[in-house]
Symmetry: D2
Subunit: 189 residues, 4 copies
Amino acid sequence: MIGDAAALLVIDPQADFMPMVEGGPEPALSAMARLVQAARAAGLPIVVTQEVHRPDLIDFGRELDGEEPVHCVEGTSGVSLLPDFQPRAGEHLIRKRRYSAFFATDLDLLLRGLGVRTVIVCGFLTDVCVHYTCADAHQLDYCVRLVAEACGGSTLAASEAVFAAVERLQHGALVGLEAACGTVPRAVA
Amino acid sequence: MIGDAAALLVIDPQADFMPMVEGGPEPALSAMARLVQAARAAGLPIVVTQEVHRPDLIDFGRELDGEEPVHCVEGTSGVSLLPDFQPRAGEHLIRKRRYSAFFATDLDLLLRGLGVRTVIVCGFLTDVCVHYTCADAHQLDYCVRLVAEACGGSTLAASEAVFAAVERLQHGALVGLEAACGTVPRAVA
Amino acid sequence: MIGDAAALLVIDPQADFMPMVEGGPEPALSAMARLVQAARAAGLPIVVTQEVHRPDLIDFGRELDGEEPVHCVEGTSGVSLLPDFQPRAGEHLIRKRRYSAFFATDLDLLLRGLGVRTVIVCGFLTDVCVHYTCADAHQLDYCVRLVAEACGGSTLAASEAVFAAVERLQHGALVGLEAACGTVPRAVA
Amino acid sequence: MIGDAAALLVIDPQADFMPMVEGGPEPALSAMARLVQAARAAGLPIVVTQEVHRPDLIDFGRELDGEEPVHCVEGTSGVSLLPDFQPRAGEHLIRKRRYSAFFATDLDLLLRGLGVRTVIVCGFLTDVCVHYTCADAHQLDYCVRLVAEACGGSTLAASEAVFAAVERLQHGALVGLEAACGTVPRAVA
């Protein structure tokens, strides 16, 4: 896997987000599974995030002012992590209330504790939770590596804009799946 | 209960903290139970906090550099909430990794969502998690009401110092149990 | 101006960002000046943000890993606010080190103190500091109103993607200049 | 000076706080001056904090609900740093609105950028800004070294309670002035 002191962040692999992915989530899910496998093989820390809202809807903030319906409510099936992405023993779960996985969570504390300097990011939705997690990681001084093939967005156009934005912030941030998995040298990817 | 737009914060009613309370936790526990009952009767939001550390100890930060042994580890009995303080349906749980219940958690988001302006605080340990939660509440512009009888600290002297410190920050912050429960007028307390 | 309890945020009207604006900053600057004038007339709080980096470059974090050269260094002419956007007496300045004006600053404290619930946003660069400020405002439960004509981005395509992203988060977030200034009813804008 | 990767934090050496120090600030000021000199000689980063409030008093939060009068207002003489503690070129200033120097500031970003792991703390008031800065440093995983002789508090009793509280969090946190300055071995101090 990429570099030293890296961790894999798997953003919101949850039932409720699947129908929101333009073109369907399958290509991303399959790439995400390969990343998880490669991270396990390389002994990299794996952090899975899960958006969870309280049943009384009190913690949605402004999240219902826009495109998204009520989602990821505790006790519903939609909040569940997809079975392939349940953290195993020794892997980490971060529950969150907002888009960025760093927002009002202990993710930064956890990554500091683990000595992580680089986050390899994949998951859903590219143009919301993935994007704002990358932006916060960058602002918190992490090296960001975003695996485009392992992300699913609300539209392809929005996803492309995110890839360009992230690459603009850190040259080399966008990496191919094979390079991320370490099966081909990064320069060739 | 006290004032408008108040919530009751019950800090860390957990097995592992009980032996750390000088004089034993019983007087505080009994006062805390009365507060919870009064809050339920008054329809006030109740937020219970729970310190939780990961089994690999990766998120203890500096918490093991001092007096406290390993504590509140996920999967151990010591991390459990005491049965009397399990949040019921409609009540809220905040898991935390550090002393302040606002630190790297969504407590502020939750309280904002609930429209809360005043926090009534009780629990353990007065001179650690209770104190730093009160300090952050104050810095985040909440009105703080600390019920001394419903707190337990590592020493009585340390507890007294906290009560003085909190009262110094907001005059009137220290309230008696009966006043907090609304059974006597506050001015008389 | 828009709604109740609103404030105008003028993001980074600074010399160093002017050459980065595709198509030049003039159209945005002229719209921003109108917004400031309207906010003053309406008695709305005005907050100007200024990115400032220390001369030893120690606080750039990852900001030099990408497209942007060294910028906004204390003591250089490039860090200066453009003369038209210097805060007047009673207006507010927020110095920041990162993109989001909420990141490691007291902007949220200030807006809470002012009783602000809606932020009207303009400035530079649309696809960096403006975007991430809007995202954090949204995550902090503010109502966001972004005046596209009063923003300048690194590319027009990137700007368009931001406008779509912000509108996706809060329907109605994108507002025209005349509507924002209150000279035409919003529904007509 | 103490350890590796350390920085000296000089908390709020400002005119308005001087009359609040029980017994007068002189002993602390003289010890603080020695610390600054030793830090300069050792090449340690120096960070001076300054509490600053806006003239319209909008950002005081709850700070006027208790013991302290209006203080540290921009444009008044009371907000000024004492001449001996003005940061020199290459030293750092952190303006803050609340007690903790980490609260709504970029101090953590700065210390991360500098590679700092240990903060040596001195200044005013021991039982307010010094204490809550130490608590946040601890919660943010810094090693804390507090130089009691170089602090001034609102009462001696309150100061003693803080020293005990900080030492309880990290054994060895309380250090003598000579040990901190490196003129005697720490174990002897």
